[in-house]
């Protein structure tokens, strides 16, 4: 099903009163309102959470990136300062002493001793001439007379005036850095002073950064060779496993994934004079710890909100749909009642018309037959007098029967003439039962009276009330088998109403019969039923401002319950 269809179905189900399958309709309505309400409450929440997460992450990163960059830069400066200090003291010596003095082993020894006192980490010091030959040397190695002219650093110091080497392992497997300066004397001679520095001071500088467990700081050269040991990436002269950013750059921070699959933030700060890059790495997870804490809190709140929303929405939708359903049912009931009233009214008018039309010819038949009877009765000579009188009587009886029918029809239709008197309902029922006593006796039907004593009087019409109970009782008698039971109960429903129920243990009725039972001309009796009795009963009870209800189960019996107001409120009639 495509989305358009879904949407159409959704809106149709939500907005239209589709009166197909009713139960289904409310289920769809409930589902749709639920989805809609859920969406309009949850979606903004989700959007807000996403935006918040995004913003927070961005600002957090900024707050992390900047200090990282600063720290890398600061440390780089410390290194530079350290190296520059050594370079400048070598430069100072080169300027302060003559070529002869420096080439003198004794003088150089003295200078080196003084330097050792003042500056840490010096390993050796030596003078090299223009041709690259070591002329004098103080230090642990035997470098006197060594020729450096083929080495790259020598050319670099000749061109640039000073040189700082990468870290290298000396003969004693100590990391060293060589520094060298070039001076041109007044006589035009070249003087190269070269010193080697122990890099243990480097470790001190890095240690002074005070890094946590997830962080790492080290120096590399431009080829990525480690110049100081790294916590995560190996010892000196190992290859730094992460590719370096390309091009010339100042201090920068980049995100990297290292070979151990750790997400890192890495700050690179290249040195200005030496071929070093200060590297500072920090694991993202450590950096983002506050963020993760916040996120889990937010997730928790989010989950609680969602659950709360679901519960509230569910309850709300349930209530709303129930209300809608109730309103629908009430409307349906009112509509059916109106329909019923209209049906009764139109049938009533029809019945009245028919009855009236029939009454006139019936009156003629009545009088003609009556006259025939009169004439024959007075004629003693008439041969078949008895037979004739029998015939006319039979006609008159038939007319009487017709009259009964038309009068019932008219009674059903007419505006009922009401005479309100005080009535004892119990007594009224007893009286009505008088009409049926014989049948009860004959058929062995048990009549059980469960009357409430001292039932308040109702103010209503005796004849019509009698008709109400007679009609219901007649139906009950018709429903029960011989030796059946009919229970009549009366009670005070509330301060304004008296209730009477008539229960039989007869055959009961189907749903369909119940729905039609008060309709005029509806009958289930095989013969003799006009289908008007209960319609009239219904009309009377309604007119008196009362209620009549039927409950029935097939095979178990039927209960008619009548609620009568203590003071009949006469409603509009035909």
């Amino acid at each position: 099903m495509n989305s358009k269809n879904l949407w159409t179905r959704f809106t149709k189900g939500l907005l239209q009163n589709a009166d197909d399958d009713t139960a289904n309709r409310y289920r769809i309505l409930r589902r749709n309102i639920f989805i809609l309400m859920f969406l309009i409450t949850i979606v903004p929440l989700i959007i807000m959470a996403v935006i918040y997460q995004h913003e927070y992450q961005a600002s957090l990163k900024k707050e992390i990136v900047n200090p990282l960059k600063t720290l890398a830069n600061k440390t780089k400066h410390s290194f530079e300062l350290f190296l520059e200090e050594r370079l400048s003291v070598i430069r100072f010596i080169a300027s302060s002493y003559s070529f002869e003095e420096l080439s003198d082993q004794k003088t150089l020894n003295r200078i080196f001793k003084t330097l050792m006192d003042e500056y840490c980490c010096l390993i050796d010091l030596g003078l090299i001439n223009k041709k690259g030959i070591q002329l004098s040397y103080v230090g642990p190695y035997e470098f006197l007379g060594k020729n450096y002219s083929k080495q790259s650093w020598f050319h670099e110091v000749v061109v640039k005036g000073n040189y700082i080497s990468d870290v290298f392992m000396g003969y004693r497997q100590f990391p060293h850095v060589a520094i060298a300066v070039l001076r041109r004397t007044e006589e035009g001679r070249y003087l190269i002073l070269r010193a080697t520095i122990d890099t243990s001071k480097f470790d001190n500088i890095i240690a002074s950064m005070g890094l946590d467990q997830e962080s790492d700081a080290f120096l590399i050269n431009s080829e990525g060779i480690l110049q100081t040991p790294s916590r995560f990436y190996g010892k000196i002269l190992d290859q730094y496993p992460v590719p370096l950013p390309m091009g010339n750059y100042g201090p920068i921070v980049v995100e990297e994934v290292d070979p151990q699959n750790r997400k890192m933030l890495v700050a690179y700060a290249p040195f200005a004079k030496a071929d070093y890059i200060m590297v500072l790495t920090k694991q993202r997870s450590a950096l983002l710890k506050p963020w993760y804490t916040l996120r889990s809190k937010m997730l928790f709140i989010f989950a609680i909100s969602v659950v709360t929303i679901i519960l509230v929405v569910f309850k709300l939708v349930d209530t709303v749909v129930k209300r809608v359903k109730e309103a629908d049912e009430k409307r349906e009931l009112a509509y059916r009642e109106i329909q019923h009233t209209h049906k009764l009214a139109s049938i009533g008018r029809l019945a009245a018309g028919v009855a009236h039309e029939i009454n006139n010819p019936m009156a003629i038949i009545n009088e003609k037959a009556g006259l025939m009877k009169d004439l024959v009765a007075h004629d003693d000579q008439f041969r078949k007098k008895e037979k004739f009188l029998g015939l006319t009587d039979s006609i008159l009886q038939s007319v009487e029967r017709c009259k009964g029918i038309t009068h019932r029809l008219l009674g059903f239709a007419r505006r009922m003439e009401v005479q309100l008197v005080e009535l004892d309902v119990n007594e009224l029922i007893q009286e009505t039962l008088g009409f049926l006593d014989k049948e009860a006796l004959h058929r062995n039907i048990e009549l059980k009276l469960q009357f409430t004593d001292n039932l308040p009087y109702i103010f209503s019409d005796r004849g019509q009330m009698q008709q109400v109970f007679l009609n219901i009782l007649s139906n009950a008698f018709a429903a029960v088998e011989d030796k059946g039971q009919i229970v009549i109960t009366s009670w005070e429903e509330d301060s304004d109403t008296v209730g009477v129920s008539i229960r039989d243990d007869g055959s009961g009725m189907s749903e369909e019969t119940i729905s039609n039972i008060f309709d005029p001309f509806f009958t289930t009796k095989q013969k003799g039923g006009t289908g008007l009795g209960l319609a009239i009963t219904y009309g009377i009870v309604k007119k008196m401002g009362g209620e009549i209800k039927v409950t029935s189960k097939q095979g178990e019996g039927t209960i008619f319950t009548v609620y009568l107001p203590k003071k009949a409120k006469i409603g509009p009639g035909e």
Binding site: A352, A355, H356, N359, N360, M362, A363, I364, I365, N366, E367, K368, G370, L371, D374, L375, H378, V399, C402, K403, T406, H407, L409, L410, G411, A413, R414, R415, E417
Partner: protein, 123 residues
């Protein structure tokens, strides 16, 4: 009781003439009219003690006839006949001065009883 002068007014001729004949058989002086105008003329010509009057008649309606009778001869007892179940007309007629009303088809014995009551009720 016999020799009572009765006028029957009903548009159903068969009904009214037959009923008149039956009343004659019982010793009443019964005449019949088939519409309101004729009925009123006959009252003027020979005033009866009792008028039996159909409510539903074409032309001059029964209640109108009743009004005119009561206007001119308030001593005449009028018994109304209705073909309709509605007792509205019957009650209206009684408010206009009719003695009582009966629903068609009528039972002649009942009618006679009503007439006797009407005569007795005379002050």
């Amino acid at each position: 009781m016999e020799n009572l002068k009765i006028l029957l007014v009903d548009d159903e001729e068969e009904f009214v003439t037959t009923l008149a004949e039956r009343l004659e058989l019982r010793g009443f002086q019964a005449r019949a009219a088939t519409n309101g105008e004729d009925g009123l003329h006959m009252i003027e010509a020979d005033t009866p003690q009792i008028v039996i009057l159909d409510v539903m008649m074409p032309g001059l309606g029964g209640l109108e006839v009743l009004k005119r009778i009561k206007a001119q001869n308030p001593q005449i007892h009028v018994i109304l006949l209705t073909g309709r179940g509605s007792t509205k007309e019957g009650i209206e007629g009684m408010q206009l001065g009719a003695f009582d009303y009966l629903m068609k088809p009528i039972n002649i014995e009942e009618l006679i009883k009503k007439m006797q009551e009407a005569i007795k009720s005379q002050p």
